[in-house]
């Protein structure tokens, strides 16, 4: 059996993996009350009726405010003026929610826009003559441009010639330069990034104004924002509620007239505004923008809000084994001494042979010997030896010392080496080699030549090491109802061992891009939504087919175009986080809608007795909050209705807490918190506001 290494032996693990799997809210940057103030000018500009028309719920509030204002002007009473004022505040607060969310996106867009300084490109004319300088805005798709060290890449494209280090910090925030070269999967370059060394020829891929950066700016600013299907459906439901309440309020006047009273229009409008779902109506677009924003905070760009919603629905995750589930390279996990050799002898030899070996495998052998076999205090270098590098012909590497030679390498290569040097290759070694292979690991035979005779010391086992915390994450995903499928080019044996270790639900071994595409189609055929990551050009069809396709920023332009999200950090594990963000977005939307509707009950108990007590005094029995007077009761409900919007802006931006537990548990929790909470909160809130409002002259 392989052993899981207790400590991460390589520093390759992304920082977030070493932390325990995150629970609770996915932070989206702190929310400062200052942001509210900063958004006031934009909110005021949104008072324009043309803007309000887009949101039927708020348009009704806007109309109501205009009407009540007119009535307050015609017949100024303290009550009418205050109601008019607070109705305008309701509209304003709703605008504020949207403005704050947009403001945060604008700040990010500003940073991006700075990369879009006008650059001069050196275009190679089609006749192959000398490069000519042209403005970046004049470049057409298919043009070839030369970019040399120190110059800014003028447009998105693929490297067709040369290799260069590129500073992409403007886009990714990552300061370490990356290598871009022609051919292969690292050929894509982004306009606005800077070449640090060497010279490349780039074939332009995007029209001016449609580059990657342009699209990013549009997205984070929210200017390209369209309602998602779910938002549309929810808006229909909210409009229906608005119509129902409109009917309930309109029908009230003739009924009251029959009952021997008349209701003031101001009061009827106040009732209507309190009943229609203003809270969620005001926060709906802010929730959507904030969801996108949370992705951007994590350096993920989604092409649309629809993609974020789909992420919440994903039921199958396709994850590449290498780099996502396991560390990129195999690592030494165990030593198997054999024959006359002891484990200490084997450890000492294997370590010596690997000290100068700079491959990840070599480093991992040194680390294993230090950590597990007590060789931590040995000198870190060999003074008089000569390192023999690995070559494809010999298939082994090693160290030549004055009195001995050490070799490690593939079993067959070592067999030849040992027998050719008069040694014996014991059958026990072959057995261990078979045993290690059967576990999906790679056996590395280690032998030494001393005094003219070769001797096999044992076997070093190299295994794929599952990144720490992956098992827990997959268990979490299972709890969320998401199936994980590991994709690998390894053979079935290796794949099944890793799948078992990592705790994924299924695996696809010896996978070709076609297999991947077929798997996605099969899953979708069964009604499941599929998410995957990819970077290569051959991933593009699968990325396009998947419901959520996250392209790595290091990947090719084809992959980025095909997917509907781009991860600027190129961290495939982020897919899990993306799913959480999608779910959190949907939960926030549902929870605040429920809260908003549940609020109505208390408002009825405040306003109905206040309206009707003049007609039927016994209806004062419904005034269970014991509000001071009809006027103060109605005003308190209106004030609460306005203030609750502001109070919920931080929650809308931050998103409600999400825990990866079963659906029923999640619903019970959210129903209690936002359903029952939504019923109780306004009773307390309106009662408290009334304690203040009753002292306003003429209301108490």
């Amino acid at each position: 059996m392989t052993r899981t290494i207790r400590r991460a032996p390589e520093p390759a693990a992304p920082a977030d993996l070493r932390k325990p799997a995150p629970t609770g809210r996915i932070a989206a940057g702190a929310f400062h009350p200052r942001q509210l103030l900063a958004a006031v000018p934009l909110a005021l500009r949104k008072l324009n009726p043309r803007h309000q028309l887009a949101n039927p719920v708020l348009f009704v509030v806007w109309l109501g405010s205009v009407l009540v204002t007119a009535l307050a002007v015609l017949e100024p009473t303290v009550f009418a003026i205050l109601v008019a004022g607070w109705l305008w505040f309701t509209v304003l607060f709703a605008n504020l929610a949207e403005a704050v969310a947009e403001g945060r996106g604008k700040a990010q867009a500003e940073t991006l826009r700075r990369t879009k300084t006008e650059t001069v490109a050196r275009r190679i004319p089609s006749d192959g003559a000398h490069p000519e300088p042209v403005g970046a805005a004049e470049l057409a798709v298919g043009d070839l441009v030369i970019v040399e060290a120190g110059a800014v890449i003028p447009a998105d494209g693929d490297v067709v010639e040369g290799i260069a280090t590129v500073d992409e910090s403007a886009i990714t925030g990552e300061s370490a330069p990356v290598i871009r070269e022609s051919g292969g999967d690292r050929c894509a370059v982004t306009g606005g990034t800077t070449v640090l060394s060497d010279r490349i020829v780039v074939r332009v891929h995007s029209r001016p104004g449609e580059s990657f950066v342009d699209r990013m700016i549009a997205l984070v600013e929210g200017s390209a924002r369209q309602k998602t299907p779910n938002e549309t459906a929810l808006s229909i439901l909210l409009s229906t509620l608005t119509i129902i309440f409109l009917l309930a309020v309109v029908a009230l006047q003739p009924m009251a007239a029959f009952s021997g009273g008349t209701l003031s229009v101001v009061v009827l409008i106040a009732l209507l505004v309190c009943l229609i779902p203003t809270t969620i109506g005001a926060l709906l677009s802010a929730i959507g923008i904030a969801g996108m924003d949370r992705l951007v905070q994590r350096n993920v760009l989604a092409s649309s809000g629809r993609a974020v919603e789909a992420a919440g629905d994903v039921s199958t995750l396709l994850l590449d084994k290498t780099g996502t589930i396991t560390f990129g390279n195999r690592q030494a996990t165990r030593l198997w001494p054999c024959g006359s050799a002891t484990v200490d002898e084997l450890a000492e030899a294997a370590r010596l042979a690997s000290l100068a070996d700079d491959t990840p495998e070599g480093r991992s052998i040194v680390a294993l010997c230090a950590d597990e076999y007590g060789l931590a205090n040995q000198p870190g270098n060999v003074e008089h030896g000569e390192f023999v590098e690995f070559s494809a012909r010999t298939r082994m590497s090693g160290l030549d010392l004055a009195d001995r030679r050490i070799r490690k390498g593939a079993s067959s290569a070592l067999r030849d080496w040992v027998t050719s040097h008069g040694g014996e290759f014991p059958s026990a070694v072959a057995e261990i080699v078979d045993q290690v292979s059967a576990q999906g690991a790679t056996p590395l035979v280690c032998a030494e030549l001393r005094a003219g005779t070769a001797r096999v010391l044992g076997v070093v086992q190299l295994s794929d090491v599952v990144k720490p915390g992956m098992r827990e994450r997959f268990a979490e995903l299972r709890e969320m109802g998401i199936r994980t499928v590991m994709i690998t080019g390894d053979n079935r044996v290796t794949a099944s061992v890793i799948a078992e270790q990592a705790g994924v639900d299924d695996y696809l071994a010896e996978a070709t891009p076609e297999d991947k595409l077929r798997l996605i189609r099969a899953e979708q055929e069964g009604g499941r939504l599929v998410a995957m990551t990819g970077d290569g050009t051959n991933d593009a069809p699968a990325l396009a087919q998947a419901d959520v396709g996250v392209a790595m920023n290091t990947g090719t332009m084809a992959a980025k175009e095909a997917g509907n999200m781009v991860d600027l950090d190129s961290d495939p594990t982020k897919l899990i986080e993306i799913v959480r963000i999608g779910k959190q977005l949907l939960i926030t939307r549902g929870a605040l809608t429920t809260f908003s509707i549940a609020n109505d009950l208390a408002k009825y108990f405040a306003i109905l007795p206040a309206m009707f007590v003049a007609i039927y005094p016994q209806l004062d029995g419904l005034n269970i909050m014991r509000l001071a007077s009809p006027d103060s009761a109605i005003l308190s409900a209106v004030v609460f209705n306005a203030l609750v919007i502001v109070a919920l802006i931080p929650l809308a931006l931050r998103g409600v807490r999400y825990r990866p537990v079963g659906a029923a548990k999640l619903l019970r929790r959210n129903l209690l918190l936002y359903g029952l909470g939504g019923i109780v909160t306004p009773f307390v809130g309106i009662w408290l506001i009334d304690l203040v409002v009753r002292f306003v002259h003429g209301l108490g």
């Binding site: 009924m255 039921s315 549902g590 999400y658």
Partner: protein, 549 residues
């Protein structure tokens, strides 16, 4: 005690038929075989019974059939004078004929006429009784189509309306009606083609007591949740409902199909547990209504009530409070509208309970078919919000609830409150309303609200106390019945079409389970909250003001 025993026997009887009858209904609507009689009928009407329809074709069938039915029923009433067995009751006036035709085709059975005075046996038998069967079969068919929408995937065909209609009548309603009619006759319900008998009273005066073929119409009146009595006094009339046993049987018939359809739903949806959950929601609401009415009628203040021990005004002494409350909860909960006591004489709270039974949207357990589809529509609304709260775009029974599904559901939900609130509001502005009422104040408002609620929900029960023979009431209540019936039906069929076109979403741990008490309470809460938020203002000027007085 006797009251509890009646409830106990009723519940036991329903429990006994639940599985076999629900299973039988499922078989009726999914069997590929046609009986010889059915094949003959299809040949006669040149129908291909195996050609399934799209939702649009199905809707055209429902609407076309109903339109023809209305015209036929209207003509029959207008021509009554030349029809046999009319006993010189003459042609029905146009407004009343329109109202009655609409009323029976929409399964409302609101009666603006007095049965034994206005209609002869031909119109009763060839017109009204036929519609009692047909409108009930239409209701069940629409509910079955919605179930098919959930169970079919990537399909555009939803069944054949004519086949579903024929099977509902021939395989379900007719056989049961025949058996129970004989039973009722043996228990004393009248079945006669005579106009009536003349009797000499004890004081020497003579009077004529009307007779009618009551037993045959009585069974389908309850079984099909229709409710239109052959006599004006409806099931309070001793010829329709002579004793405690007939009363219990008729109450049982009211509930039999709406209750058993949840079993049918469970079987067809492949989740019997979900059927039980739907049943539990209906049962909880029904029990709540029963408790309100029962308690209110035994706890009414006033000298008369104190003397009688309970509010006995408007109730038959042979039934008493429990059987009247049981009937009231069942008739308003099922959209039947037949009465065995006068709801107008109920206490403020008791009458409010009857009103609430309808305002819940007729889902406790609702009319034949309409109760089931009504509850499924409300489940869609509930699941839309609840689904979001578990972090997925909403789904229900393996189907996504997108824009089209929500639009259909909101149309179905919106129709009833619109009709009720606008109808009541406008009626309050119509000058004649105050004169048509026997009461003013909150009870008067309740009478008008009750009328539009009854019409809009296709219930048909009357609070009485309101004279509804003016052209305004005949026309507006007729429109309320039409809109309250057919807007939801079209929306439900459209919904079924869009559900069937979808693929099925497989169930995972992230799917909200719809089989446990959590979903049941969510759905119950939604039904109550939707009704409360919509109608609290109107109710507080009516029954609430009356109850608090």
């Amino acid at each position: 005690m006797a009251g509890f025993a009646q409830v106990g026997v009723l519940v036991l009887a329903l429990a006994l038929i639940y599985r076999p009858f629900g299973g039988y209904l499922a078989k009726v609507y999914s069997s590929p075989k046609h009986t010889r009689l059915e094949r003959g009928l299809y040949r006669l009407f040149r129908l291909d019974p195996d050609a399934e329809q799209r939702w649009t074709g199905y809707a055209v069938g429902v609407l076309g059939f109903s339109a023809v039915s209305i015209v036929f029923l209207y003509a029959l009433q207008r021509l009554q004078a030349v029809l046999p067995l009319d006993f010189d009751r003459g042609a029905v006036p146009p407004a009343m004929a329109f109202n009655t035709a609409v009323s029976f085709v929409t399964n409302t059975n609101w009666q603006s006429y007095s049965g034994e005075q206005a209609l002869g046996h031909t119109v009763q038998l060839a017109g009204l009784t036929v519609q009692n069967f047909a409108s009930a079969a239409v209701g069940i068919a629409v509910a079955i189509v919605l179930l098919r929408g959930f169970t079919r995937a990537s399909a555009d065909r939803l069944g054949n309306f004519w086949v579903d209609l024929t099977r509902g009548v021939l395989r379900v309603l007719l056989p049961i009606s025949a058996v129970f009619a004989v039973l009722l006759v043996s228990l004393g319900v009248v079945q006669s083609l005579a106009a009536g008998v003349d009797v000499t009273n004890v004081d020497g005066s003579t009077s004529s007591i009307a007779l009618a073929p009551a037993a045959s119409q009585e069974v389908i009146k309850e079984l099909g949740t229709n409710g239109g009595g052959i006599f004006n006094a409806n099931s309070a009339h001793p010829f329709e409902n002579p004793n405690g046993w007939t009363n219990l049987i008729e109450t049982f018939l009211l509930l039999a199909i709406p209750v058993s359809l949840t079993r049918t739903a469970g079987l067809l949806l492949g989740s019997k547990k979900h059927g039980y959950v739907l049943l539990s929601v209906m049962a909880t609401l029904w029990a709540g209504l029963l408790a309100i009415t029962w308690w209110a009628e035994t706890h009414t203040g006033g000298a008369a009530s104190a003397l009688a021990g309970a509010n006995m005004e408007g109730k038959e002494v042979r039934f008493g409070i429990p059987a009247s409350a049981l009937w009231a909860a069942s008739t308003t909960g099922t959209s039947t509208g037949a009465v065995n006591a006068m709801h107008d004489s109920f206490s403020g709270l008791g009458g409010g309970g009857a009103l609430l039974g309808m305002l819940l949207g007729e889902v406790a357990p609702g009319g034949v078919g309409s109760g089931l589809y009504g509850l499924l529509i409300l489940a869609i609304i509930a699941m839309f919000l609840a689904g979001l709260m578990v972090g997925r775009t909403p789904e229900y029974l393996g189907k996504k609830l997108g824009k089209r599904e929500v639009t259909c559901a909101t149309f179905a939900v919106l129709a009833m409150p619109t009709v009720v609130l606008l109808g009541t509001g406008i009626a309050m502005l119509v000058p004649g309303t105050r004169d048509a009422l026997t009461n003013n104040g909150p009870h008067g408002l309740a009478e008008v609200l009750y009328a539009y609620t009854s019409a809009g929900n296709n219930n048909g029960s009357a609070f009485a106390g309101l004279t509804v023979t003016s052209d305004w009431f005949q026309a507006s209540l007729g429109m309320a019945m039409l809109l309250g019936r057919f807007i939801p039906i079209i929306a439900v069929l459209c919904l079924a079409g869009s559900l069937a076109a979808q693929r099925r979403v497989p169930e995972t741990a992230g799917t909200l389970p719809v089989t446990g008490p959590l979903f049941a309470s969510l759905l119950t809460g939604t039904v109550v909250l939707v009704a409360a938020l919509t109608f609290l203002p109107a109710l507080s000027l009516g029954p609430i003001a009356e109850a608090l007085a």
